[in-house]
């Protein structure tokens, strides 16, 4: 089966090419068939190849396929080689399967749009880039996918290009992630200098021979790679682009937040775990950034009005959990949470898109309300996504994945009490903002009349994703009940076992506390937004709360900070020197020459008396000099 591997990325690429070149000339129906069909076919190939991979695990647990040698200079060579192992299989599954559902949804969602073909062309290219990213066997090819993802996010966030704000959001996304990418590129140079190769498996196999554990060079290398991950995954301090990225159509948000782009950083760190494993400092940095981000983004989500912004900040926060897990060494837990998160976050964004469209492009949750009975399918599926996001105990997939991370953030080798406490607080906050969002959107009075309801092409993906959001968690059950470890067993050929500390308290205790945190968060949301909304009014009168609210609402003022520290100075420096100061050097030389010419030309006055006087004065001077000497 491994010879069909190339088809998985090639089909979306083919879709892109057809739509880019012929999109103008074919009917909208054909556009939909090509656009969504290419991803669906890719998903089918993935099931076939993945099935073969799982049933007859190849010897070294990896399928590889070399397509051609990209380039070769001296002792450097980069090949276009795809490789599929368990880790990439999980990602390919999420990308193609969820991607296919999003594409099917989009065929209806974007139906009225003028640029139907351009939309699907960009979406297909997005899926293609992400597939290259996760299937690449070397870091350079991964970088190709990595940058391709950046380009596609630019194209899709700025899809409705006529509004300047959308263009600005698209530019911001590209530029901010590019900062991380530049650091990552330097990381690649370092890896090559030290390891002499960019092939991931070779680096992994020789990592401990190349680098001393905890040496400066391995830490720097790891941190540079991490910087790339922080950009794409919207983690501190490069998280500012993601909330603005919702300027694109809702299916784009679903794709960016669930299946592609933001998970790239998680993939990179998991993929390069051998390097991170060698540096304690780097892992600690990963964990701390994850913890800080999840808390910061969670509190921000609590204050937003726009439903898509709530979801955007919740993504940042959930990715924070994944980074936390990676940092403490719970590699498989991070990947598990990635997969579950992909299901429920795609679901939430698609459902939110359906709501927004039915409410005539109303984004503000406070103007929604009462949709429970009016949009039943959306309500039930959104509820399924919401319980998974809030990690409602036992019945949601999100519980199983998040509970693991909470447990490991204390008990795994890199875990400690502070990280755990932050993660627990994050769980409470997550439940609170999720409940707030649910109540504001679906309960209470209706504030906006609804238009037409979403059709079957939009609801079908919602239902499928809802099922996965609830049931997908059962493939990995905690050690103390069920002890069913299908998912982590699958990944263990690639990712190491989580190293546990000794003498840790019982896992039951942690699960109980996690459950309590979730329920507490739900109660808080229920209490303030359903039972006693007047309490919110009281809070609004408190000056400190208002200040805090404003601060959180702005995303902890990061935008203003960067604007003042980086953007404004850059524009200022650039604009004062528009005429290029170095040119003054040359115009100065020209001006001096001109002045000297004017000075000398004065002597040529045409007056005979002056000339004679000059002659005489010169003669006296020469004679004088001769006499003196």
């Amino acid at each position: 089966m491994d010879k069909f591997l190339w088809l998985i990325p090639a089909l979306p690429l083919g879709g892109f090419l057809i739509l880019a070149f012929a999109g103008k000339y074919i009917s909208r129906k054909a556009v939909a068939i090509v656009g969504a069909g290419s991803i669906c076919l890719s998903a089918l190939v993935m099931f076939a190849v993945g099935g073969a991979f799982l049933s007859g695990m190849p010897e070294n647990a990896v399928y590889t396929q070399t397509l051609w040698t990209w380039f070769e200079v001296g002792d450097f060579n980069a090949k276009i080689t795809l490789s599929l192992d368990a880790l990439s299989l999980v990602f390919v599954f999420a990308i193609t399967f969820i991607g296919a559902l999003i594409h099917i949804y989009s065929t209806a969602f974007m139906e009225a749009d003028r640029d139907y073909a351009r939309f699907f062309a960009s979406m297909n290219l997005f899926v293609f880039s992400m597939l290259v990213l996760v299937l690449a066997d070397n870091l350079l090819l991964m970088y190709l996918g990595w940058e391709g993802v950046g380009l596609c996010s630019y194209l899709l966030i700025g899809f409705w290009y006529e509004q300047p704000a959308n263009g600005a959001a698209a530019r911001k996304a590209f530029t901010v992630t590019r900062i991380g990418d530049a650091a990552m590129a330097i990381g690649l140079f370092m890896v090559f200098q030290q390891a002499g190769t960019l092939v991931v498996s070779e680096i992994g196999a020789n990592a401990s021979a190349i680098w001393q554990p905890n040496s400066t060079s391995v830490t720097i290398t790891a941190l540079l790679l991490l910087a790339g991950g922080l950009g794409k995954s919207a983690q501190l301090p490069l998280q500012t682009w993601l909330p603005d990225a919702m300027a694109g159509p809702s299916p784009v948000s679903a794709l960016i937040h669930a299946a592609t782009m933001v998970t790239a950083g998680v993939y990179l760190v998991a993929r390069m775990h051998t390097i991170f494993a060698l540096s304690e400092t780097a892992r600690l940095v990963v964990a701390v950034i994850g913890a800080a981000t999840l808390l910061l983004a969670g509190l921000t989500a609590l204050t937003q009005y726009d439903i898509k912004r709530v979801l955007a900040y919740s993504t940042i926060s959930q990715i924070g959990y994944m980074f936390l897990a990676l940092g403490v060494g719970a590699w498989t837990a991070a990947v598990f949470h990635f997969m579950i998160h992909a299901f429920f976050k795609a679901l939430l964004f698609l459902a939110a898109g359906a709501i927004i469209e039915s409410l005539h492009h109303e984004h503000n949750m406070f103007k929604m309300g009462g949709l429970k009975d009016k949009m039943p399918v959306v309500f039930w599926t959104f509820l399924a996504g919401a319980i998974s996001l809030a990690a409602v105990p036992l019945v949601s997939a999100g519980f199983y994945s998040k509970d693991q991370i909470l447990w490991y953030s204390w008990s795994a080798g890199g875990g400690n009490a502070v990280l755990w406490a932050v993660a627990l607080a994050g769980a409470l906050i997550t439940a609170a903002y999720t409940t707030r969002m649910m109540i504001l959107t679906f309960w209470g009075e209706s504030h906006t009349p609804i238009g037409h309801l979403p059709g079957r092409r939009m609801t079908m993906p919602l239902v499928v994703l809802a099922l996965f959001s609830v049931f997908a968690g059962f493939i990995e059950l905690p050690h103390n009940f069920g002890h069913f470890t299908l998912f982590s067993d699958l990944l263990h050929p690639v990712l190491p076992e989580t190293f546990m500390k000794e003498n840790i308290p019982s896992e039951w205790l942690f699960q109980l506390l996690a459950a309590l945190a979730t329920l507490g968060g739900i109660f808080l949301g229920y209490y303030y937004y359903y039972q006693k909304p007047s309490r919110i009014e009281n809070l609004r009168r408190n000056g400190l709360v208002v200040q805090l609210h404003r601060f959180w609402f702005s995303g902890w003022a990061f935008d203003a900070l960067y604007d003042r520290m980086l953007v404004k100075p850059f524009i200022y420096i650039s604009s004062i020197n528009k005429k290029d100061i170095t040119d003054k050097l040359y115009t100065g030389i020209a001006a001096i020459t001109g002045d000297m010419y004017k000075l000398l030309s004065r002597t040529q006055s045409g007056s005979l008396r002056w000339y004679i006087m000059g002659l005489v004065a010169g003669a006296i001077l020469i004679l004088g000099i001769q006499i003196m000497l």
């Binding site: 880019a20 103008k24 051609w68 040698t69 990209w70 380039f71 070769e72 200079v73 001296g74 450097f76 351009r118 350079l140 970088y143 190709l144 990595w146 940058e147 391709g148 380009l151 630019y154 194209l155 700025g158 290009y161 006529e162 509004q163 300047p164 263009g167 698209a170 530019r171 590209f174 530029t175 590019r178 900062i179 990418d181 530049a182 650091a183 590129a185 330097i186 690649l188 140079f189 370092m190 090559f192 200098q193 850059f570 524009i571 420096i573 650039s574 604009s575 020197n577 528009k578 290029d580 170095t582 040119d583 050097l585 040359y586």
Partner: protein, 506 residues
């Protein structure tokens, strides 16, 4: 003989064009097109014959050689030779030549005969520069490029053309004279040492020069090449010349004339003054990095589209000089790649600026905006080349910048770190180009037609090339390899020799 043909076809075409221009306005462009196409086919024929698949594989670096005595009393000969590096640049010359003729097709309506004469004459000069193996002959061709370009800017340019033409001429001429002095210096030093007075490149490269003189002679060459490249702070002629030149002029300036500077460094400066080059490496690389950042920051503030693209050239050429002075195979291969890909990507941006100017009659990006709507094809192509300019993997420029940075990292990691900031700045200005021209609300309500067939043809040729180079760059790398490895080997031998004879550097 083939090599002489390359130059003569252009020169004969040039004369034919000016003669035909007396009778008809349209014949000269056909003559120019035919001359360039013949030249391009000749280059492809040479390439096919000398590539490993083509049968006759030459053993060394040099593929073809032609030599005839010219002024024997001064040791001057008409000596042309090509290796892989020259061949690539020659292919580029004729390819861009064809595009330059095509893009002038309707733009130039006055004095077409003389226009195409100048165009072809410049190309002949450039082709000569890339082949000359006699320093006197090299200088001759160096000057041949100059005067027709002066006319091209001064006659067919836009409003401020006379100023721009003078500036271009003075910068190039003054620096060219310094190079001529250096050539003469080398000629006499070699003559006194060996008793053989010759301008032959192969004999002069072996000259043993005292370090101090080597430094000054190198500076003479370097200034000429640094002005052409251009290296910060010698770049200020470039925005004016680019901004005012007609489209084809900008295309040839960016695509070819700048490349002659880089070629000169690779061909002459490095092999002739190896020790001095080693000593000057770090300052030169620092200047390169300054150029990368300065050019990018300047590009961001420009409102004139052509000036903007001109400053991006300054930034990209910063990579070239940084790469050359890294003096290792990775970086040098990156430099060759950068010469080719920058010519294509920046050329495409200049062509696009010309096409927009034909439609909107302005180069001010403040007056553009929202052009994606009426011109989706141009928008897509513009996006491709903006992405090429910011170094998106999959397009040729990425290979170039990656190899340069990777190579420089082996030599001086901190310089790479500084140069990598160029990756961020290039994204900033490239996205500004796309945003200002194609996105946002429409500023003008004129109807603007999308690509015509001719324009489509030009841009398609460039797009295919840049994508091809991004995915399959190996043929270019293989072609340049003998020249590059020879250069690196030579430098290694030199530095080994230097360690055995420390007295040379005094």
């Amino acid at each position: 003989m083939m090599l002489v043909l390359l130059i003569t076809v252009l020169m004969v075409g040039a004369v034919a064009a000016v003669v035909a221009g007396e009778w008809s306005r349209h014949v000269p462009r056909w003559i120019a097109l035919v001359a360039c196409v013949i030249g391009l086919m000749c280059v492809i024929a040479i390439w096919a014959n000398t590539s490993p698949a083509g049968g006759s594989v030459p053993s060394g670096q040099w593929l073809l050689d032609y030599r005839k005595s010219w002024i024997p009393s001064f040791g001057i000969s008409f000596h042309l030779a090509v290796d892989g590096l020259s061949l690539l640049l020659l292919a580029l010359t004729f390819f861009l030549g064809v595009l330059a003729v095509l893009c002038s097709w309707d733009e130039i309506r006055e004095r077409t005969g003389f226009y195409y004469f100048n165009l072809l004459w410049i190309l002949a000069g450039v082709a000569g520069v890339f082949m000359a193996m006699d320093l006197f002959l090299f200088y001759f061709f160096w000057e041949v490029m100059l005067i027709p370009m002066y006319f091209l800017i001064g006659i067919w340019g836009s409003e401020n053309r006379v100023y721009a033409a003078y500036k271009f001429f003075i910068f190039t001429q003054a620096s060219g004279l310094l190079m001529f002095l250096a050539i003469l210096g080398l000629y006499f030093i070699h003559g006194q040492d060996t008793g053989i007075y010759t301008f032959n490149y192969f004999e002069l490269t072996g000259t043993v020069i005292p370090f101090k003189s080597a430094f000054w002679l190198m500076s003479g060459f370097m200034i000429a090449f640094a002005v052409k490249l251009p290296v910060f702070p010698f770049h200020t002629w470039l925005p004016d010349a680019h901004g005012e030149a007609p489209t084809a002029g900008s295309l040839i300036l960016a695509g070819l004339l700048l490349k002659t500077g880089a070629y000169g460094m690779l061909r002459f400066v490095v092999p002739m003054f190896p020790e001095a080059v080693r000593e000057a490496a770090v300052p030169a690389m620092v200047l390169g990095v300054v150029g990368i950042i300065y050019g990018a920051v300047m590009a961001y503030s420009q409102t004139d589209l052509k000036r903007l693209v001109a400053f991006t050239s300054v930034s990209h050429m910063g990579f070239v000089i940084t790469g050359i002075f890294a003096l290792n195979e990775l970086a040098l291969q990156g430099v060759v790649m950068q010469l080719v890909t920058h010519a294509l990507s920046t050329g495409a941006l200049f062509l696009m600026a010309g096409m927009i100017k034909e439609r909107l009659h302005t180069r001010d990006i403040g007056e553009m905006g929202g052009l994606w709507g009426p011109m989706p094809q141009m928008g897509s192509i513009g996006l491709v080349f903006a992405m090429a300019s910011l170094g998106l993997p999959g397009l040729g420029n990425f290979i170039a910048e990656f190899l340069i940075l990777l190579g420089v990292f082996q030599a001086h990691p901190w310089i790479t770190v500084a140069a990598a900031s160029g990756l961020i700045f290039s994204a900033v200005y490239s996205l500004r180009i796309v945003g200002k021209i194609f996105l946002g609300p429409r500023k003008t309500m004129e109807t603007v037609p999308d690509f015509s067939f001719r324009e489509m043809l030009i841009m398609a040729a460039l797009t295919v090339s840049i994508v091809w180079l991004g995915l399959f760059p190996q043929p270019v790398i293989d072609t340049a390899r003998p020249a590059i490895t020879e250069l690196v080997r030579f430098m290694d031998v030199q530095s080994a020799a230097l360690q055995h004879q420390p007295y040379v550097k005094q």
